[in-house]
Amino acid sequence: MESRNTQLAVGLFVIIGILALLFLGLRAANTSAVTTGETYRLYAKFDNIGGLKERSPVKVGGVVVGRVTKITLSGEYYEPLVEMTISATYDKFSDTSSVSILTSGLLGEQYIGLNPGFVDETVEMLQDGDQIYDTKSALVLEDLIGQFLFSQGND
């Protein structure tokens, strides 16, 4: 009978371990379902992506709709090209939409803010693989200071 109690205790021990793993996986780790369902991809070219990283969120009005999946340099002039994977739930963005690289808080992570554009008869909706042309680059502090000093010098 002692052997059965031992087995029971070990079984419970393993179950506690699995519960701990589930707790860590589901409660503590990033399991945001935004990019696990149906998705489509959009591209955007920036002059400077600042501190944007792969897996940075893409937000519309603060709501996460997708994530940055790839950052490469493209074209003759080596401009940063950002691939965004957007949840297919939000598939009605017009091609007048614009994207900008924003910072959450004063020192926070950088993310992409997507501003949906206006819609009328002449405007088409963005499809999988389309590129957004209206982009605004990240604010780089050194550039800002440089511009400020330059404008001071001109006075």
Partner: protein
């Protein structure tokens, strides 16, 4: 002078021979066709002794370490108005470092020392020789189940430690000091990554489990079979295993997050 050089040489030769003996012991214990029907009850018994009985100390220390992290982290972060980053701070430090390392250190003290003492006493009372005389390989019968029990138990213990620690941080941070409940979890979820943090933590604890159990078993198996020898071997298990864990942790951290 020559005596000193000879002494140094003897120390080096001894340590190389010890490492070789430890490796041979492990290989002979683990390689070979396992007999599931016989090995299963032995493994269960050892999992109970090594894993289940270590659970209490792991849960209690995990809770307290999590609460201390919550308290210390809050006091520093609140100066920057960043107390909502308490969640990721507690979770990342537990998952990446404190969970595997402190579990391994506690495991070396709680389970490793008892493994060494048990096997050392078996050797001193010639139970190991008796097994051999009966035609039972003591490596397969005594060493192998203890090794696997330690190897399987420690990652589970480390996971429990991290989970309980995060809960402790939650208790202090949210329940006591008033960090926002939603922000605590959501900022944590935004910065803890499954592969980068949780899986790497599990890999760390697997490596530590291997090393600590191996050291404990070898120290017991190779000890001088006297009461002084057993006590030396037990002390040496805790010291060597703790040093090995801390050293390996630096190497693993450099490889994983460097």
């Amino acid at each position: 002078m020559l005596d000193k050089i000879a002494g140094l040489g003897r120390v080096i030769l001894d340590s190389i021979a010890g490492a070789g003996a430890a490796l041979l012991m492990l290989l002979r214990a683990l390689i070979g066709k396992p007999n599931i029907r016989k090995a299963w009850p032995l493994l269960m018994q050892q999992m109970y002794a090594v894993g289940v009985l270590s659970l209490i100390i792991i849960v209690v220390s995990g809770l307290f370490i999590g609460m201390v992290l919550g308290l210390q982290g809050y006091n520093i972060l609140v100066d920057f108005g960043a107390e909502q980053s308490l969640g990721p701070m507690v979770a990342l430090s537990l998952l990446r470092e404190l969970g595997p390392v402190v579990t391994a250190l506690l495991f070396a003290g709680r389970a490793g020392s008892s493994l060494t003492a048990e096997i050392g006493l078996m050797k001193a009372t010639e139970q190991l020789s008796s097994l051999e005389m009966m035609g039972v390989d003591p490596l397969r019968r005594v060493i192998a189940p203890r090794f696997w029990a330690g190897f399987y138990s420690m990652p589970i213990l480390a996971l429990v430690f991290s989970a309980v620690g995060i809960f402790g941080g939650y208790l202090v941070g949210v329940r006591w000091l008033g960090v926002d409940d939603g922000a605590f979890w959501s900022v944590m979820q935004a910065s803890v990554d499954w592969g980068q943090d949780i899986v790497n933590g599990i890999i760390k604890s697997l490596v530590f489990a291997f090393v600590v159990t191996w050291i404990a078993l070898h120290k017991g198996y190779s000890c001088t079979p006297t009461s002084v020898g057993i006590s030396r071997a037990t002390t040496s298990t805790v010291v060597t295993a703790s040093l090995a864990v801390l050293g390996l942790d630096f190497v693993l951290t450099a490889l994983m997050f460097g």
